[in-house]
């Protein structure tokens, strides 16, 4: 048997970031309940995509990926997610860090744009224009 035609010529293009127009508005800090609402809304939107990820191997569930996210006003990504750091990495699972990073990023990118976020809290202190996401796989 031999192979014909070039393999895997199809590619899935990475989602292009949307350049969000960030209007300088007078910020009102989000209260604790508002932040909770925003966080729940974000989680609601991201979780379906996070659910589809697979554990790449033993010990990967101990890795915690911390990532910075910057959203545009329409809930889309204003720039690609940025990995800030990792927790729970040891000699046993460090080979899976790259795969867990990719899972964390895909969880957000695949479910963006995020919907239902309150416009008035976009660029408020503790608002949702910039936030931190911590991602893990189940043990």
């Amino acid at each position: 048997m031999y192979t014909i035609a070039p393999a895997m010529i199809g590619t899935l293009v990475a989602v292009a970031p949307v350049a969000g127009q960030i209007a300088p508005q007078g910020p009102t800090p989000a209260g604790a309940s508002q932040s909770l609402f925003v966080a729940r809304t974000i989680l609601h939107d991201i979780q379906p995509c996070a659910n589809r990820q697979t554990n790449p191997g033993p010990g990967a569930e101990r890795i915690v990926v911390t990532m910075a996210l910057h959203l545009a006003r329409d809930g889309g990504l204003a720039e690609p997610p940025r990995i800030l750091g990792h927790g729970g990495v040891n000699a046993d699972n460090e080979r899976y860090v790259g795969q867990v990073d990719a899972h964390a990023i895909a969880s957000v990118v695949e479910c963006a744009p995020l919907r239902g976020l309150p416009a008035e809290l976009y660029d408020a202190p503790n608002g949702w224009s910039h936030f931190t996401m911590r991602y893990t796989l189940p043990g």
Partner: protein
């Protein structure tokens, strides 16, 4: 923004983003801020000085819905494999079975599949497939060539993004038509999961029949899905522990020819076998080195069993261990630099690692119970073993020791052997009771996806071969 539901390709495409992100100066270390796995707060929000923090736990890992309609043909032609239209139907069924058996995909039920015309192969009806719930679509075609071969085309599409993800074509002799389906399934699996391929591979094992104590044991070989099964030996001599050569052209095993246990190499092409070690002592537990130049084996002499290596062409064995007790079950690391083996030198069977020349022997298993039959993963990252306690269970651990995880929980599971991509393990499962019945099973690294491989008779001691070229 396109909203593709093909998770893993997007994951792979975006991996570069993550790498690029490393160039950005990282803020303070996050270890302290990050909660331990499994201890995320129920309320996912925090709004402290560092701003909004959202904790996400992923990985529920629902299988991906995938549509695999029958492959059309450009013209219905009779071939030794059957008519090309029937071959097209069978190809798609084999691909669906491979992907379903991986545990990562759910093929769309046949009732929801529509007939695909030949021109439609490269112009899918995405809206229809979207309505079936499929996230990915596999289409292809079969064509009989003038020289007697078959061409099988294989296309993978992202249904939601309405885009092509991969395509590959295979030219096969009619006798190899099933391999084209396995190659297509490997293309899809690799593209969507990022893991290496393994469907186009074979398993050798010991086929057993007859009452316990008088079992007839024959060497057998089959595709990893149980198809193309054939017996290699006639059962006149008991055979044990078959292992593929890296080039897949031969199998090394132990046989009781003339009631004396010794190591033989069976040439699959010619059907001939030859004795490897000319020695009066009992030799057993053979295994090839990754480059095929050496055969590791155990030899019992004067009440002591040690591990030796000998050229795969025969010759004088070289002794690698010399500790009192039983050293056996040697298995090379993928780069050939180290050997993992079991030894009872500490009082009970435990796992040890040594350099390929026998130096620097170090114990790596320290859990309760005993450990046997260690096998190094082809990826090099794990060692599979049999854990001996009240029951026999298949487990994995790191080559440096630690990270132990048991994958099965039956009465007697033993003798693990890795798939070519290091994601799946085949093993022998024995039935509790006096029947002595055993079967060939597989389990993946999650320990969740476990299944029996169909064999004509009972089966024991399976060994997975390399990916076929």
């Amino acid at each position: 923004m396109p909203r593709s539901l093909l998770t893993l390709p997007l994951t792979l495409a975006l991996a570069a983003s993550a790498v690029g992100a490393q160039d950005v100066p990282a803020p303070a270390p996050q270890d302290q801020a990050a909660p331990p796995a499994g201890q995320q707060p129920a309320a996912p929000a925090a709004a402290g000085q560092e701003g909004l923090v959202v904790d996400v736990e992923g990985g529920i890992s629902a299988p991906m819905p995938i549509a695999i309609p029958a492959m059309p043909t450009s013209a219905v032609v009779q071939t030794p494999a059957g008519t090309t239209d029937v071959v097209g139907q069978q190809l798609s069924q084999i691909i669906a079975n491979d992907l379903r058996n991986s545990g990562l995909f759910t093929p769309v039920p046949p009732a929801q599949l529509r007939t695909v015309s030949f021109p439609e192969v490269t112009a899918p009806a995405f809206d229809y497939w979207n309505g079936t719930g499929a996230q990915a679509l596999v289409q292809g075609y079969v064509r009989a060539n003038g020289d007697g071969t078959l061409t099988v085309g294989c296309y993978l599409y992202d249904v939601l993004a309405k885009s092509e993800l991969a395509r590959q074509g295979f030219v096969v002799s009619p006798s190899d038509w099933r391999r084209a389906a396995h190659k297509c399934a490997d293309t899809i699996y690799t593209k969507l999961t990022g893991e290496g391929p393994y469907f186009d591979s074979r398993v050798t094992y010991v086929s057993e029949t007859g009452p316990k104590g008088r079992r007839i044991k024959r060497l057998a070989i089959m595709d990893q899905d149980g198809a193309n099964h054939r017996f290699l030996t006639n059962g006149q001599s008991i055979v044990l522990t078959p292992r593929f050569a890296p080039n897949q052209q031969s199998i090394v095993y132990m046989s009781y020819v003339d009631k004396r246990p010794a190591i033989y190499v069976y040439d699959i092409g010619s059907g001939r076998q030859r004795l490897v070690v000319q020695n009066a002592a009992t030799t057993f537990a053979p295994r090839f080195s990754p480059d095929g130049r050496w055969i590791l084996f155990s030899m019992a002499q004067a009440g002591n069993t040690d591990i030796y290596r000998v050229s795969s062409q025969g010759g004088t064995p070289q002794r690698l261990t010399n500790a009192p007790g039983i050293d056996t079950g040697g298995s090379y690391s993928p780069d050939g630099s180290k050997i993992v083996f079991e030894s009872d030198r500490s009082g009970g069977q435990q796992i040890y690692v040594m350099n390929a020349d026998g130096s620097n022997q170090q114990r790596i298993s320290f859990g309760g119970g005993r450990y046997a039959t260690p096998v190094w993963s082809p990826r090099g990252d794990l060692i599979a073993f049999t854990k001996l306690g009240g029951a026999f269970r298949i487990g994995i651990m790191n080559p440096s020791g630690g990270g132990e995880k048991l994958l099965t929980n039956s009465w007697q599971d033993e003798g693990p052997s890795w798939s070519p991509n290091g994601r799946v393990i085949t093993f022998q499962r024995s039935t509790q009771g006096s029947s002595g019945k055993a079967d060939v099973w597989m389990v993946d690294l999650t320990g969740v996806n476990e299944r029996r491989i169909p064999t004509p008779l009972d089966g024991s001691d399976p060994a997975w071969g390399p990916l076929r070229p």
